[in-house]
Amino acid sequence: MGNFMRLVQNENMKIYRRIRTWVMFGVILLMVLFFSILFRLGGGSSTISSWDAISQLSFLYYLATIFAAVVAADIVAGEFTWGTIKLLLIRPWTRTKVLASKLLALILFTLLITVVFFLASSLISFAMYPENTTSLMYSDDVSPLAYMLEDILYRYIDLLVIALFSFMISAVFRSSGIAIGLSMFILFTGGIFTMLFNPVRYPWAKYTLFVNMDLSQYRGGQEGVAGMTLGFSITVLLSYVLLFLLVSWLVFKKRDVAA
């Protein structure tokens, strides 16, 4: 019945008509600008290439990840908190389709925030270091653009996994607070976990989400620790993502809407 894209349009409206979303984009632009200026001032007279400048700013992508987790946390839980879930689910659409529209809107948002981030950091970097565009950091046989795009892809996968985790917690606990909290926990303890439970010493750790999230470890055909490969990590990540979606779907579909 009807057109599924209108549901996605609705979800988009609920994301982009909130001032919060524009504050997120504003914060990203401001932080990119702020750190560019800071690096420029700190660098003194020595100039780096624009590509290196972009790479220097990429740590700020954490902000995009946090914002994506926040939007994901609210997209289902918000409807419960606002009480609007009661009006949303009594339309001629199955719960599966309603949830799918939310998932699609979330994925579109993660893509948008990623594009905004990299456009902003690229434009600002090229504007600040227009004179020197050959990279010192990258060797001649690699195109900096290709390298950057590969880097974006790895970082985006990381963001998407966290956003989908947040989406699941949001659907299961109907609380955006818990969803944001747990996603941040995963985001920031991933590194510590990998150090504490090195897969070389703890073979089971290979199968945890944390040690597989950073796909850049396989860059240039390198092999990971404890015989892990790119294919292995992709399989593990994909399994987790499917699990997150399956749990979200089952809980959302079965839940009695009581409050």
């Binding site: 549901l7 609920k14 009006l87 009581a258």
Partner: protein, 303 residues
């Protein structure tokens, strides 16, 4: 006119854990009526309504809307329904218009023109482009009615719609509902614990208590009303002696209540006066639905 019921509840039960919330409820709602669903708090009204609109799973039995099962043919069944389940919660960060647009997109065939028509019907033209967070409760209620009738549903379900409304808002709502039932032939199913409210609004009332249907009665069956619900009240100087003299009746607040017609009332008056009992006032009192309801539910204990 087809007289197939709009809603058919067939042996509906809801159990949560070992607790039975709704117990084998069977009820048909005929088309074109304002049908009341009455019961004390905690009787299972909201649970029943939530099962009716698919927000809650049904443990046993089934509910059909226009012949389509809400569990097996959800999309078809629900397309006939418009509802306000408890307070009409809206997206506060959106304008009233955007809220309506949101729901309009979810139902096939709701045009921009229809949205404008509904806005006019509920009288929100002036404020429709303001954010919902600036609305008063009464305005939100109107917006709630607007979203419920956008797609011209055959059945309108309202759960405790008058909660928190001021008397003027209640009167407005009542007149919308009457208008819908009479002009568009919409069947309206409305739950409430406010009995006097139901009397003013409904054609038929189903009474539910502790998850069980205990009575269904028409409120427009005037003969039944006249016979069943009216008593004659005598305000006299000595109600005890008056009762002895007449040999029937019940005493309430030092009034004597009798089930009699007008001729008998005149005769009894004469006898009382001749026996030296002063009669200050004779009046016909109507037993309200409220009295009957309390009678039925035994004072409304929640168990």
């Amino acid at each position: 006119m087809d007289l197939e019921p709009v809603v058919r509840m067939k042996g509906v039960s809801k159990r949560i854990g070992s607790k039975t919330i709704i117990d084998n409820l069977t009820l048909d709602i005929p088309p074109g009526q304002v049908y009341g669903f009455l019961g004390p708090n905690g009787a299972g009204k909201t649970t029943t309504i939530r099962m009716m609109v698919g927000l809650m799973a049904i443990t046993a039995g089934d509910i059909e809307i226009q012949g389509a099962s809400i569990t097996k043919q959800f999309e078809t069944a629900i397309s006939h329904v418009g509802a306000i389940v408890e307070n009409p919660e809206m997206y506060k960060f959106l304008s009233g218009y955007q809220n309506l647009l949101h729901y309009a997109r979810m139902s096939p065939g709701v045009s921009k023109q229809r949205i404008a028509e509904v806005i006019e019907l509920v009288g929100l033209q002036q404020r429709i482009h303001d954010k919902v967070k600036t609305y008063s409760l009464g305005m939100r209620q109107r917006l709630g009615v607007a979203q419920a009738i956008l797609h011209r549903p055959k059945l309108l379900v309202l759960d405790e719609p008058t909660n928190g409304l001021d008397p003027q808002g209640i009167r407005e709502l009542r007149s919308y509902l009457r208008q819908l039932a009479e002009e568009e032939g919409t069947t309206i199913f409305v739950s409430s614990h406010l009995l006097s409210e139901m009397e003013l609004m409904c054609d038929t009332v189903a009474v539910i208590q502790q998850g069980r249907l205990i009575d269904v009665r028409s409120l427009h069956d005037q003969d039944a009303v006249a016979n069943e619900q009216k008593k004659t009240m005598f305000e006299v100087s000595d109600p005890e002696r008056a009762r002895e003299l007449i040999g029937q009746g019940q005493i309430m607040d030092s009034h004597l209540l009798l089930d009699i017609d007008r001729d008998t009332a005149a005769a009894i008056n004469e006898r009382l006066v001749l026996s030296g009992i002063s009669v200050y006032r004779i009046a016909v009192v109507t037993r309200t639905l409220e009295d009957q309801f309390i009678e039925l539910t035994g004072g409304g204990q929640i168990g």
